[in-house]
């Protein structure tokens, strides 16, 4: 299959089909650059609205291109990019998240009086990076895509320029984030040393016979650190609460879903395609710590953004649990979880960013007192998202957790399952606190209830629809995730022996 010319990177001119395989990225970049170019030309007062609409059109075009791209599965550009059901799934998810974030941002930007067109441009360009992460099968390209997505998020985090906490979080995120990507790059280098390749498929073949297992293990551990930082799993989660607190609320919604989904896509490729022998305990320990520290941390929070930050650490932990399951069940559980989590978490942040008001004044739990009386619709909406985050039946969050834990139990990891289930019961407490505050306290006078604008209403409807749909009729989504999971995993006939998976013995 692999010709020598290909390995040396000397190839004929790319075919047209190969461009189709990165068409969504191309279109999104084009829209992003167009926004950057138009921004200085347009009148400052009106530019916000127009640029926002261009960005939304860009994401819709991106979705259409993804649909078109899905007709052309295969490799592109010297085997650096692969289009299959797996990458299509993440493209759809990530671009849809971007579209919803843009819808949420309309009102937010107007209320916060942030006049900056590049905000929308950066969201689109970040999306390019994330989408590319999900389809790249070349470690160096993955690194570049990771950087594209990270750099735009560093800037987006600092967009509340008048607020010191926003600048602080931007700087913190930038310093720690570049440190973490360096780890990833170092891991890539070591992996190249161990196997002589940076292509995931080639590495996977070489590792079967490679004598340098130790080096491969170290390389995997280093890459795990880099990815672990992006998805905020313990012990690489310390930055999360501070950064989430300072960043603009819609961006937090974005950051906690889209880049995470992309990073989990990369982690899925690395864990399940490479099958590095030493990965099991790394994942086990990190999952347990993420769930426990995330939930305990969230118990003590009074700021709703910090609370949701800790909750996102816990959810990353639940997601990581699925990596300990068998590859087929684990992968489809991860895919389902990222989609369900995106729907509910984005919805929650949509409510938070609507409610935050000028300068994000209303972000503490006390501000939510009596919301059930002052704006019952908003409170009911947030309640549904919180119930889904708890994992109550008829919500997507329930099935997400359910697939993860039933997958892990299939692999007979009873300890991990029990720790996870107990954690999710503990986690119920802090989500419940928000519901309690909204419905069971008297409303406070000074917190005004603003009407819900159209863009936000659409975003909330989409999020609620997705959350309930995944909770009542998860069948189709699940079948799709299983189909996608099969695309990721090597077919059993390829002759590779089933991976050795450590069992949970203490």
């Amino acid at each position: 299959m692999m010709s020598t010319t290909c390995a040396f990177g000397i190839q004929t001119i790319p075919q047209a089909e190969e461009y189709v395989r990165i068409l969504p990225e191309l279109v999104l970049s084009a829209f992003g650059i167009a926004i950057m170019l138009l921004d200085p030309v347009l009148d400052e007062e009106r530019s916000q609205k127009i640029l926002g609409q261009i960005a939304l059109a860009g994401t819709l075009a991106g979705l259409a291109c993804t649909w078109y791209m899905s007709e052309f599965p295969g490799l592109a550009f010297s085997d650096m990019v692969r289009v299959d059901a797996f990458s299509v799934f993440f493209h759809v998810l990530i671009i849809a998240i971007a579209a919803v974030v843009i819808l949420i941002s309309y009102e937010y930007m107007a209320v916060q009086q942030i006049r900056a067109g590049e905000y929308y441009g950066l969201i689109l360009l970040g999306t390019v990076g994330m989408a590319l992460m999900s389809s790249a099968v070349e470690l160096v390209l993955i690194f570049i895509a990771l950087e594209i997505s990270s750099i735009s998020s560093y800037i987006l985090v600092g967009f509340r320029r008048r607020d010191a906490s926003s600048s602080e979080s931007s700087l913190k995120y930038f310093l720690l984030g570049s440190f973490a990507t360096a780890f990833f790059l170092y891991g890539v280098a070591l992996m190249f040393g161990a196997t002589g390749s940076t292509n995931i498929d080639l590495i996977s073949q070489k590792l079967q016979t490679s004598p340098m297992q130790l080096l491969a293990n170290v390389a995997f551990a280093l890459m795990f650190v880099g990815i672990g930082f992006k998805v905020a799993i313990a012990p690489f989660h310390i930055w999360t609460p501070d950064v989430y607190e300072g960043a603009p609320a819609p961006i937090v919604g974005f950051m906690s879903t889209a880049p995470k989904a992309a990073a989990f896509a990369v982690l899925l490729r690395i864990v399940f395609t490479l099958n590095v022998a030493g990965s099991f305990w790394l994942i086990w320990v990190s999952a347990v710590f993420s769930m426990t520290l995330g939930n305990i941390g969230a118990l003590l929070q009074n700021n709703i953004k910090r609370l949701l930050a800790y909750s996102s650490i816990a959810h990353a932990g639940y997601l990581l649990v699925a990596f300990a399951a068998a590859p087929d069940l684990g992968t489809s559980a991860v895919l389902f979880y990222t989609a369900a989590y995106a729907a509910m978490n984005l919805g929650a942040f949509a409510v938070v960013s609507h409610f935050a008001n000028v300068g994000e004044r209303h972000v503490t739990l006390e501000d939510y007192e009596g919301l059930g009386r002052t704006s019952p619709l908003l409170a009911a909406t947030l309640t549904i998202f919180l119930l889904s985050l708890i994992g109550i039946p008829t919500t997507g969050g329930f099935f997400a957790k359910f697939y993860v834990f039933s997958g892990v139990l299939r692999a007979n990891l009873i300890g991990l399952t029990l720790i996870g289930l107990l954690n999710s019961a503990v986690g119920a407490y802090y989500y419940l606190r928000i519901i309690v505050v909204m419905y069971m306290r008297q409303p406070r006078k000074e917190v005004p209830a603003a009407p819900i604008p159209f863009g936000l209403a659409v975003a909330l409807t989409l999020s609620i629809g997705a959350t309930i749909y995944l909770g009542v009729l998860p069948n189709r989504a699940l079948q799709y995730t299983q189909h996608s999971a099969q695309a990721l995993l090597p077919p059993p006939s390829s002759g590779s022996s089933p991976p050795l998976r450590a069992s949970e013995t203490f």
Partner: protein, 505 residues
């Protein structure tokens, strides 16, 4: 009359009629009167629909009836599998019977956020019926968890002084306990590839699960813990008094009347049904806890200065009888356990309504605040006395039948169980009658109580059906037991088989 066609979809109708009503209620404008009438109509309609179940039920036939089994989610293999047998049949009817009464008793007492209240009440009814009708373990867990939220919100939004504390405590206690049940359910699914109760039971009895013997004890405990917290079995009962005291009247009625029975129903269906051998092995300590619960609950009830707390602790005591009856593994004991569940649902439901009426008039549950109420409120006093006597276990009323059967079952199992539990009957007479005496007899100690009005028409319509059914259940228990008995017999078959096997060897 196409009863066949109706019979195949009756369970779906009964289960989801209240939910449909709740969804319509969301759309209704906030005119409180209309909302109350609508909720009443929906709950009455559900009750009438549910009467189809006992009327067309083939009583001598064991096994499940009105079965619906459709695939819902293909992977994992989850079915929409619903059916009732003689055990769950009456619990469904109990739920649909109590809900319209809850609507009536809340007619005047809930005057703020009326819409939310009735929406939650109807959602709760759907979830409760679903718990009793589901035969798919997943569906069961689904409804089980779904009862939590409307109940917690009812307590937390419409309760009294420390409502938030009580709501959160209730929620967390049951949520954490059911995490263990979920783990057990998932384990069973991982081994059998099915959530279906009947399939799993057959696989277990045929020894088709190789890893089962090693895990059975843990699975039993996983289910048992979730149920024991719900019942609540001593020492898991501490959430109950808080929840009851803070809950609004309708919440208390459904909490005591139906929610607690979810636990005992679960033990009967799942612990006994799936793990007969482990049930037998664990019976001694469970029965010990049940008897401690009977006596401890009664003694604590006796010293309560708060009427609602007194009734709450009396529930701990009565539910101890149910657990004792279930784990006696005798025909009489199980029949009695079922009958106590129903009787307790009716009479304690009525007691909570009556206590709620006092609170509405005086805004307190303190027994010392009352005294001599018999003269200003004669009808109320008479109704109260009737229900108290039913609860105490006066022959010809419903409490007597159940307790008698449980005690005779307990004696068959081991005389000491019967002797100890029988003292509970004396205690319950003591605390209820003493409370009655302090509240109703003597002179009116607080002049303000002279001006208290007697039962209104709504309150009569809410309380008297309970009194009537307490009487009917006491006079003609066969109407209920004829359906319960074959189901109980079927539930006990694995136990008699074990006994035969032991004797045969």
């Amino acid at each position: 009359m196409n009863t066949n066609g109706l019979s195949s979809s009756i369970l779906t109708l009964v289960t989801f009629a209240p939910l449909a009503g709740a969804l319509l209620l969301v759309l209704l404008p906030r005119r409180d009167r209309d909302i109350r009438v609508f909720a009443l109509v929906v709950s009455l309609l559900t009750f009438v629909l549910s009467l189809h179940l006992p009327v067309y039920f083939h009583r001598p036939q064991t096994g499940f009836q009105y079965e619906v089994d459709r695939p819902w989610i293909s992977t994992p293999n989850i079915h929409y599998h619903m059916a009732v047998d003689g055990i769950s049949l009456w619990l469904v009817v109990l739920t649909t019977f109590l809900t319209p009464l809850c609507v009536l008793i809340s007619w005047k007492s809930v005057h703020e956020r009326v819409k939310e209240f009735f929406i939650l009440l109807l959602i709760l009814e759907t979830a409760l019926i679903g718990v009793f009708t589901s035969l798919d373990l997943f569906l069961f867990y689904f409804f089980w968890e779904a009862t939590l939220i409307p109940m917690a919100l009812l307590i937390g939004m419409f309760g009294h002084e420390h409502k938030v504390y009580a709501a959160v405590k209730f929620f967390l206690y049951t949520m954490i306990a059911s995490a263990f049940m979920l783990a057990a359910i998932l384990w069973l699914y991982a081994q059998t590839g099915s959530f279906d109760f009947v399939v799993i039971r057959d696989q277990i009895t045929h020894g088709a699960i190789p890893k089962f013997p090693a895990a059975a004890q843990w699975l039993f405990l996983g289910f048992f813990l979730a149920f024991a917290v719900k019942v609540p079995l001593f020492p898991f009962h501490t959430w109950l008094p808080d929840a009851h005291v803070e809950a609004p009247t309708a919440g208390s009625v459904l909490l005591a009347g139906v929610l607690l029975k979810m636990g005992t129903y679960g033990m009967l269906r799942f612990n006994l049904g799936l793990f007969p051998q482990q049930s037998r092995e664990n019976a001694p300590w469970i029965i010990t806890l049940a008897i401690i619960g009977i006596i401890y609950g009664a003694l604590v009830a006796m010293v309560q200065p708060n009427m609602k707390k007194l009734i709450a602790y009396s529930s701990v005591s009565h539910l101890g009888f149910v657990v004792l009856g279930i784990f006696s593994f005798t025909q009489a004991g199980l029949n009695g356990a079922m009958f106590v569940m129903l009787a307790h649902g009716v009479s304690t439901g009525a007691l909570f309504m009556l206590a709620g009426l006092l609170h509405e008039r005086r805004h307190t549950y303190e027994i010392s605040e009352f005294g001599g109420l018999a003269s200003p409120m004669p009808v109320y006093a008479a109704s109260y006395l009737f229900i108290v006597l039913a609860s105490v276990g006066l022959p010809l009323l419903n409490g007597f039948i159940g307790e008698f059967l449980v005690l005779s079952g307990a004696f068959q199992a081991k005389p000491i169980y019967g002797i100890l539990a029988a003292t509970g009957v004396i205690w319950s007479a003591a605390y209820l009658l003493w409370m009655y005496q302090r509240v109703f007899f003597g002179k009116v100690t607080h002049p303000i109580n002279n001006s208290m009005g007697d039962l209104t028409i709504f309150e009569k319509v809410a309380v008297w059906p309970c009194a009537v059914s307490a009487l009917v259940m006491g006079i003609a228990p066969i109407l209920w037991l004829s359906a319960i008995d074959p189901a109980v017999q079927a539930a006990l078959t694995p136990f008699t088989q074990v006994a035969i096997r032991v004797v045969g060897q």
